[in-house]
């Protein structure tokens, strides 16, 4: 047993050698001394109050209290409003809150809030007033802040101008530890734009309009771009895991599973308010954090313990199409909608929707028939609660009006799928029978742009729908169904792929959605529409048994089957292909190419990529060791007007003639270069051979050796054999003839 303090005898302590005063503990004291509550953190200074007399003062305080209590707890006694010599108040007050966090909230939420028509509140922390306003800190004279000289910045959209004039698209590849950006060269080696070692620690991501390339590091997120690929922005969110952009690249959400902890020494851009938070919303232009949020507890798995805890939802913050609003689901209770750029809660309260399970913003600013006012829409659904039916609702923001709602029964789950123009939303409803034994799926389609938002029910599908995808900018969709629920089986069940499209209708109206065709006994599990519509790839990804790719055209220009005359689609399978071990697929933004790859993140077999054209013709395949990620650089929307686009389409033949000629010239000149290079290589090689052979013969002669050592040796040997056998030399030659004969036999065989 180790001697404890009790066992120490007095004589063991060398008292005489020890003098407390000699030991310098000031450094330790500094480090460990308990920081006494300074007490000022809970105080704020409220400016901008009207001047009042002593009689009116209680009234003002009462009025003020109402405002203050909306963000924290304070009381009449905690407000001190100093009075001037003239009997009137000095137009400011000190307020003490019950905690520092409340004081901080007051500063954030009440600053600049109008009190009445004339007066606007200014709320500051007392500590800040003390820190910045103390005597000597402020010059008596006003000196205007120095404005930096204007500096020309790099053109962030220079990537839109392909130097070769061919309108190629860029993509980023992350393989091994290297990240590179390339121009797509179809069949040829992609042209490297920039290639950097360890550019990112976990993954890379393009911003939605392609302006920035995002790299993710333990210290935070970096944005890169411009022709020199310089570092453009820094968002220091420590241990960041995931990143999401707002649709117009104005804001950025970062998330880390570790709550932020602000060190004592401070943090370059986050403040103490952000301590313990998981999400940060940043303004990209200024690189400043707008607001941070803590992670919500994932809702308990309920009474069923076997059920896995709900998967962590990402993106947790969903953006409206115009970056004006961002919203977060508070599962089961409400949706919090925040207004940008101030990040204040819309109308200061979350929108209460009992039981709400999920919501999705309209991906484009909707244009409803007969609605002129500005609005954004989101769709949400609530499950059955008690005797109340399940409900799907469409809410307009900022009015918070429910535009349309639909009651549903026997709902076990619902998924919301917006069409890219916000023309439709399809709600995929999984229903169960009363016994909860059999399942069925219905597709409820809201026609958002039509008057009154009519809802159409498309077919009841007996099988489980495992995937759904709208045609971008179109009105057709593809679903994948399977007979058995997808479980943990060694062999995934067979699936069916079904195509739907509207019927032909008069005028501009869109007819009812009808089933077009179903392809059975497939393995497919994923749908990838071309971003321009019309073409779709149905694939089997992340499957060890099969890896098929089917390329379809839904506007095939050939003959149309009789039975489908009334439908607005003509389905044709253009090509099938296989890419072993495929894990991901992505269309390029122009809809001309499809990249498929097998990522080392998922497995280590045959990592690399394939490149197809939209028809499914394989252009290029390249196995790459430790290939991780491919991402096409997105393009911002076109600047051409509708008319100009129409014009281009009309004159397509003329344009394409120019391009075709260019292509042909380029290919032929490339061929010439290759042939030239080969000719040179051939010449180099043979001239080397010639000199070497000459040298060799010279050396041999110099050494007195025969020119051909082997022939000499063989001659000796044959001579030897000849003497042994005792036959004439002529016969030896005959033997050689025999060998030749044997050779002819071989050919006959």
């Amino acid at each position: 047993m180790a001697p404890s303090f009790d066992h120490l005898r007095d004589e063991d302590l060398d008292d005489e050698d020890f003098d407390m005063d000699e030991v310098d503990i000031s450094d330790l004291r500094e480090k460990y001394e308990v920081q006494l509550e300074q007490g000022y953190d809970t105080f704020v200074v409220v400016d901008g109050l009207p001047a009042v007399t002593e009689e009116l003062k209680p009234k003002l305080i009462k009025f003020l209290l109402k405002k203050l209590n909306s963000v924290g707890r304070t009381s009449e006694d905690a407000i001190y409003m100093p009075m001037g010599d003239d009997g009137k108040s000095l137009r400011f007050a000190f307020v003490e809150f019950s905690s520092a966090a409340e004081a901080a909230a007051a500063v954030r939420q009440l600053d600049f809030v109008p009190l009445d028509k004339k007066n606007t509140l200014r709320v500051n922390k007392l500590t800040d007033v003390d820190r910045y306003g103390r005597e000597g800190r402020i010059d008596e004279e006003y000196t205007p802040p120095a404005i930096d000289e204007f500096e020309e910045k790099e053109h962030l959209r220079s990537f839109m101008a392909d130097p070769s004039g061919r309108g190629r698209d860029q993509f980023v590849m992350f393989r091994g530890e290297t990240v590179g950006v390339f121009w797509n060269n179809e069949k040829d080696q992609p042209e490297n734009v920039v290639d950097r070692q360890q550019w990112t620690e976990t993954f890379v991501q393009w911003s939605p309009l392609g302006t920035y390339l995002t790299s993710v590091h333990a210290q935070g997120v970096l944005l890169w771009g411009g022709p020199s690929w310089a570092r453009l922005r820094r968002f220091p969110h420590p241990f960041v895991n995931l990143v999401a952009f707002s649709p117009n690249e104005k804001y950025l959400v970062t998330w880390s599973n570790r709550p932020i902890s602000i060190p004592d020494s401070g943090h370059p851009s986050l403040s103490l308010d952000d301590d313990g938070k998981n999400y940060v919303i940043w303004d990209i232009e200024t690189s400043k954090p707008l607001r941070s949020f803590a992670q919500q507890d994932t809702p308990a798995a309920g009474d069923d313990p076997a059920k896995k805890p709900a998967k962590f939802p990402w993106p947790a913050f969903k953006w409206s199409a115009d970056d004006k609003y961002v919203a977060r689901l508070n599962q089961g209770t409400s949706i919090s909608v925040y207004e940008l750029p101030k990040m204040n809660l819309l109308d200061k309260t979350a929108i209460k929707i009992e039981g709400v399970m999920d919501f999705e913003w309209a991906p484009a600013t909707p244009r409803r028939d007969g609605v002129k006012a500005y609005e954004q829409l989101f769709c949400f659904w609530t499950p059955e609660i008690g005797s109340n039916p399940a409900r799907v609702g469409l809410m307009s923001i900022p009015s918070k009006q429910i535009v349309r709602s639909l009651n549903l029964f026997s709902v076990s789950d619902a998924k919301l799928h917006w069409q890219s123009d916000s023309s439709y939303i399809c709600v995929k409803v999984d229903r169960h029978s009363k016994s909860k034994k059999s399942q069925a799926t219905t597709l409820e389609i809201f026609r958002v742009k039509e008057k009154g938002v009519p809802v159409e029910v498309v077919d009841t599908i007996k099988d489980t729908v495992i995937n759904f995808a709208w045609e971008p900018k179109g009105d057709r969709f593809v679903i994948i169904t399977t007979t058995e629920p997808v479980g943990v089986t060694a062999v995934p069940p067979k699936t069916s792929v079904a195509f739907f499209c509207p019927e032909k209708a008069k005028g501009n109206a869109v007819g009812n959605f009808k089933h077009l065709r179903t392809l059975e006994k497939k393995n497919s599990n994923a749908i990838y529409w071309s971003p321009k519509g019309r073409f779709v790839v149905v694939a089997t990804v992340a499957n060890t048994q099969s890896s098929d790719l089917d390329f379809f055209d839904v506007d095939f220009e050939g003959e149309k089957p009789e039975g489908e005359k009334d439908l607005t689609a003509n389905l044709q399978l253009m090509n099938t292909s296989e890419h072993y071990g495929i894990t991901d697929i992505e269309w390029d933004p122009s809809g001309r190419y499809v990249a498929t790859w097998a990522s080392a993140w998922k497995h280590s077999m045959e990592n690399g990529y394939h490149l197809y054209d939209f028809r499914g013709e394989l252009l290029r395949e390249e196995p790459v060791e430790k290939f991780k990620q491919w991402a096409w650089r997105p393009r911002p929307p076109t600047l051409l007007t509708k008319e100009e686009q129409k014009q281009v389409r009309k004159n397509l033949r003329e344009y394409s003639r120019v391009f075709e000629q260019e292509d042909a010239e380029r290919i032929s000149s490339a061929d010439v270069a290759v042939v030239e290079a080969r000719r040179r290589q051939l010449l180099d090689w043979y001239s080397w051979r010639e000199t070497t052979e000459e040298e060799l013969i010279e050396e041999r002669l110099a050494l007195g050796l025969p020119e051909n050592p082997l022939a000499e040796l063989l001659k000796e040997k044959t001579a030897e054999v000849a003497t042994v056998v005792g036959e004439a030399e002529e016969q030896v030659i005959e033997e050689i003839m025999e060998e030749v004969l044997e050779e002819t036999e071989e050919i006959v065989n």
Partner: protein
Amino acid sequence: MRPILLSGHERALTQVRYNPDGDLIFSVSKDQQICVWFAHNGERLGTYRGHQGAIWTIDVDPTSTILASGSADNTIRLWDIKTGKCLKTWDFPTAVKRVEFNEDGTQLLGVTEKRMGHMGTIVVLDVKIDVEAEQTDEKALTIVCEESKATVAGWSYLSKYIIAGHEDGSISQFDGKSGDLLYNFPIHELNQQITDLQWSQDRTYFITSSKDKTAKLISAKELEVFKSYATDTPLNSAAIAPNKDFVILGGGQAAMDVTTTSARQGKFEARFYHKIFEDEIGRVRGHFGPLNTVAADPTGKGYASGGEDGYVRVHAFDKGYYDFMYEVERERANKLAAAAATAMA
């Protein structure tokens, strides 16, 4: 034409060699047997018995009189090709990984393994190409590889240099007489071992294959890397085709990883690359294990490959192989033919 399947071995092949006339194929494997076959029909002529360990390497003298073999039983043996008699046994402290005769058959080199405290060495033995003669016990030369052990080695033209490929991916050039190290260059990726080294017919240049998935064509004198052939699989062997400007490469997923990957993953194919243009020209499938060794028929009529699967496959080239030419090659051939014609006239 259908390949000839030589199924006389019970374990993985380690080396396959043609004699200079191209009519015999010698093969060795981990099953402790040396087999000799007729190249034209695949008939087995006989076996050479005596080794008591996996045999790693074999070579034939230029006159097809005697045979040298190196084995994991720590010996190099000399055999009479005709009678199968073992003529001589040299003992070493460790396994022998490579043997090779020089161009006039007067000397034999052996590469010994680094193990049990013994450094890897390259030894040179004087031999007499005579089945009757007494072979000497003395080593003419011993080169100790102190840096990284040699895995393969061979004689250059005129026995001027000994070229060795090392475990660390470098190659060394030694003086053929004194054994002095002249140069050591890293050629392949660091610590990706060189698995094979085979010569052009006149021994002025050679090809190396490596686990780094490339093969390189290098000059013997200046050690200049002329060409590099990049593949998608670790390579075990590389040979230079005579008469045509092709090289033959063999490899595949490392034997120990094969069972954990699908067959399509294995890449058990012989690959043909254009020697000068470095392009892949074709692949030959058939083995169901990695290719451990490839050998080109010195007469240019075919090639043989030995696999981890225990088979030797002997392929005869067909018309397409002889006719295959790049546009620029045909151009050159036509020019030469025209020049010859005018010279004749």
